[in-house]
C-alpha cells in the first residue's frame, strides 16, 4: 500500500514536471513575439501618451510638462474640430455605402459553385494588395478636368463645362469606398459561407420570397459578420491617409493627414501625439459601442 502511494506521488510528480516542461516550452515559443510586440508597440504607445501631456513652445519645440493643454486646444479650435467631424461624417457615409454595395458580391462569391471562384476572389484581393496610392492614381485619371468622367459627360451632352470632381468630398468618399470594399466583401463572404444553404432553402420551401428570406433568415444570422465588416470599414476610414491627401487635396483635412502634418511639417510633437490619441480613442470607443449594440441585439 505504501509502495503504491509512493508510485502515485511519483506519477503526480512526473506529471507536474511534464506540465512544467510543457509550460516552459510554451513560454519559449510565444515569449519572443510577446516581448517584441510589448516593447515595439505597448511601450511606444505609452511614450506617445506621455508626449501628448507635454507643452509646445514655438522655437523651443517640446517642453516637459504635465498638462492637458493639447487636448483642450484640439477640442476648442474650430479648424481641428471641423477636421474631426469631417472625418467622422466621411467614415459613416463610407461604411453605410460599403455594406449595401458589398452584399450582392459577397453573397454571390459565398454561394457560387463556379470553378472560377478562386479567380474572382483574387480579383477582389488584388486591388487590396496593390495599395492605396496606386488606386488613388486611377481615380485621379478619371476625375480630372479632362479626365474620363468629365469627357464622357460632355460627349453625352449632359454638361457643357467640366465639373469639379477632384478635391471634393465626393471624390474622397468614392476613393475610400473602393479602398475598403474588398475588406468588407471578404468579411461578409466568409460569414455567409458559414451559414448553411439548407436554412435558406427551408425558408423558400415554406413560401418565403427572396426578400423575406434575406430579412428574416439571412440578416439575423449574418448580423455579426455585418458588424465586423462595418467596424473594420469604419476604422480604416477614420485613419485613411493616402486617399484624402490625393483626392481631397490640402483643403480637405481629415484626421490622418492632420497628425502627419503636425509631426512632420510643424514638428509639434505634443499636439501631434494628442491628435493621434484622440484618433485612436475615438476609433476604439466607437467600435466598442458598435460591438456592444450588436451583441445585445444578437443575444435577444
Amino acid at each position: 500500500m505504501s509502495a503504491s502511494a509512493t508510485d502515485d506521488s511519483l506519477a503526480s510528480l512526473a506529471a507536474r514536471e511534464a506540465r512544467g516542461g510543457r509550460l516552459s516550452t510554451a513560454g519559449f515559443l510565444i515569449g519572443p513575439a510577446t516581448v517584441f510586440v510589448t516593447i515595439g508597440l505597448l511601450v511606444p504607445i505609452l511614450i506617445l501618451f506621455r508626449y501628448s501631456l507635454n507643452d509646445f513652445k514655438p522655437g523651443l519645440l517640446m517642453v516637459d510638462a504635465l498638462t492637458i493643454k493639447q487636448y483642450v486646444l484640439f477640442f476648442t479650435d474650430p479648424y481641428f474640430l471641423a477636421a474631426f467631424w469631417r472625418t467622422l461624417r466621411v467614415a459613416i457615409m463610407v461604411t453605410a455605402i460599403c455594406l449595401v454595395v458589398a452584399f450582392p458580391l459577397a453573397y454571390k462569391l459565398a454561394r457560387t459553385q463556379s470553378r472560377y471562384k478562386n479567380v474572382l476572389i483574387m480579383l477582389v484581393v488584388l486591388p487590396l494588395f496593390v495599395g492605396n496610392a496606386v488606386r488613388a492614381a486611377g481615380w485621379m485619371t478619371a476625375f480630372g478636368n479632362k479626365g474620363f468622367v468629365n469627357v464622357s459627360l460632355q460627349w453625352l451632352g449632359l454638361i457643357d463645362e467640366p465639373i469639379r470632381i477632384m478635391y471634393t468630398e465626393f471624390a474622397v468618399v468614392v476613393g475610400i469606398v473602393a479602398v475598403n470594399l474588398p475588406y468588407v466583401v471578404l468579411t461578409l463572404q466568409s460569414v455567409i459561407e458559414g451559414i448553411d444553404r439548407v436554412v435558406e432553402e427551408a425558408a423558400f420551401s415554406l413560401g418565403a420570397d427572396p426578400l423575406t428570406m434575406a430579412r428574416r433568415v439571412l440578416w439575423p444570422l449574418a448580423l455579426p459578420g455585418f458588424a465586423a465588416g462595418a467596424i473594420f470599414c469604419f476604422i480604416l476610414t477614420m485613419n485613411a491617409y493616402a486617399t484624402p491627401v490625393l483626392l481631397g487635396g490640402p483643403q480637405f483635412v481629415m484626421m490622418g493627414p492632420l497628425v502627419y502634418v503636425q509631426f512632420a511639417v510643424k514638428s509639434n510633437w505634443p499636439f501631434g501625439a494628442a491628435v493621434s490619441f484622440v484618433l485612436m480613442t475615438a476609433t476604439l470607443l466607437l467600435t466598442a459601442a458598435a460591438n456592444l449594440m450588436v451583441l445585445r441585439r444578437y443575444r435577444n
Binding site: R22, G40, K108, G131, V134, L181, Y241, W269
Partner: protein, 275 residues
C-alpha cells in the same frame, strides 16, 4: 398567369442581383483599369481620349532613381520583415493553438493588436519611441533601416499568427499522437508531421507578410529617414505633385508584381481558403 408573372419577377430579381454583384466587382477594379490605361498614353497629359498609345513610359521608369531605389528598399524591407515575422509568429501561433495556459486570451489579443491600432498611430508612437531610444542610447535609431524593419515586423506578426493558427486548428492531432507513440520525439514530430501539414498556412503567412510590408504607407511615413523612400511613399509623393503616364507605368509594374506573387501563392494554397 399570376404564377408566370411571379416567376418572371423572380428571374428579373436574380438578374438584378447578379448585375449588382458584377457592378461592385467592376467598381473595385475600376481604378486599376484607369491607371493601366493611362500608362499606355502617348501624350504626357492625362486627357481623354488619348492621342495615341506608346510603351515609352515603361522604359522611362529606369531613369527615375526614386522609384528604382524605392523598389529595392521596399523589397529588402519586406523580405527581412517577412522572415523575422515568420520566425517570431510561427512559434507563437503554435503555442496559442496547442497549449492551454493562464493569460492565453490576452496574449493572443496582444499579438493581434498591431492589426487593430491605426497605421498613423502606429507610426507616431514608434517614431517617439525611436526619439527616446536615440536619447537614451545615443545610437542613431531615428530614420534607421533597423528601425524601419522593426516597425514592419510588427505589422507582419499578426498576419503570421492569425494564418498559421488558423491552419493549425485544422490539423488532426491524432496523427501527431500516432507519430509520438511510435517513438518520434517532439521536434521530429514537428518537422516531419506538423510542419508539412501547415505548410499552406505558412506560405500564406509569408505572402501576406510580404505584401502587407511592401505596401505599407501610413506607418512607414514616420519611419523613413532622410533620403530613404520606399516605393509606396515615392508613388505618393509623386502623385501629390502630378499625375502622368510615368507614375501610371510604375503603378502597372506594382500591380503586375503583386499579381504574380498572388498567382504563385495560389499554387500552394487556395486564396479563397485563407483570406
Amino acid at each position: 398567369m399570376n404564377t408566370l408573372a411571379s416567376i418572371d419577377r423572380r428571374i428579373l430579381g436574380r438578374w438584378a442581383f447578379s448585375g449588382a454583384a458584377g457592378l461592385t466587382l467592376g467598381f473595385i477594379l475600376l481604378p486599376l483599369f484607369f491607371v493601366t490605361w493611362l500608362a499606355f498614353f502617348r501624350q504626357e497629359i492625362p486627357a481623354f481620349p488619348p492621342d495615341g498609345y506608346s510603351l515609352k513610359w515603361f522604359w522611362a521608369i529606369a531613369k527615375h532613381d526614386k522609384f528604382v531605389q524605392g523598389f529595392w528598399l521596399s523589397l529588402q524591407v519586406a523580405i527581412a520583415a517577412m522572415v523575422i515575422g515568420l520566425a517570431l509568429g510561427v512559434p507563437a501561433a503554435l503555442c496559442l493553438a496547442r497549449y492551454r495556459f493562464f493569460g492565453r486570451e490576452p496574449l493572443s489579443s496582444l499579438l493581434l493588436l498591431p492589426l487593430v491600432v491605426p497605421g498613423i498611430v502606429l507610426g507616431t508612437s514608434i517614431y517617439v519611441f525611436h526619439v527616446e531610444l536615440t536619447i537614451a542610447t545615443e545610437l542613431p535609431v531615428i530614420g534607421s533601416l533597423a528601425g524601419l524593419v522593426a516597425g514592419h515586423v510588427l505589422v507582419v506578426i499578426p498576419w503570421c499568427v492569425r494564418l498559421v493558427a488558423a491552419s493549425l486548428a485544422g490539423v488532426d492531432r491524432s496523427v501527431e499522437e500516432a507519430a509520438q507513440s511510435l517513438g518520434a520525439t517532439p521536434p521530429v514530430t514537428f518537422f516531419r508531421i506538423t510542419l508539412p501539414t501547415i505548410r499552406p498556412g505558412i506560405v500564406a503567412a509569408a505572402l501576406f507578410g510580404f505584401v502587407v510590408s511592401f505596401g505599407n504607407l501610413e506607418m512607414t511615413l514616420f519611419l523613413v529617414g532622410v533620403g530613404r523612400t520606399t516605393l509606396p511613399i515615392a508613388i505618393l509623393q509623386y502623385l501629390e505633385w502630378r499625375i502622368d503616364p510615368t507614375i501610371a507605368a510604375v503603378s502597372v509594374l506594382q500591380i503586375l508584381l503583386i499579381g504574380a506573387a498572388m498567382a504563385v501563392t495560389d499554387r500552394f494554397v487556395k486564396l479563397s481558403r485563407v483570406v
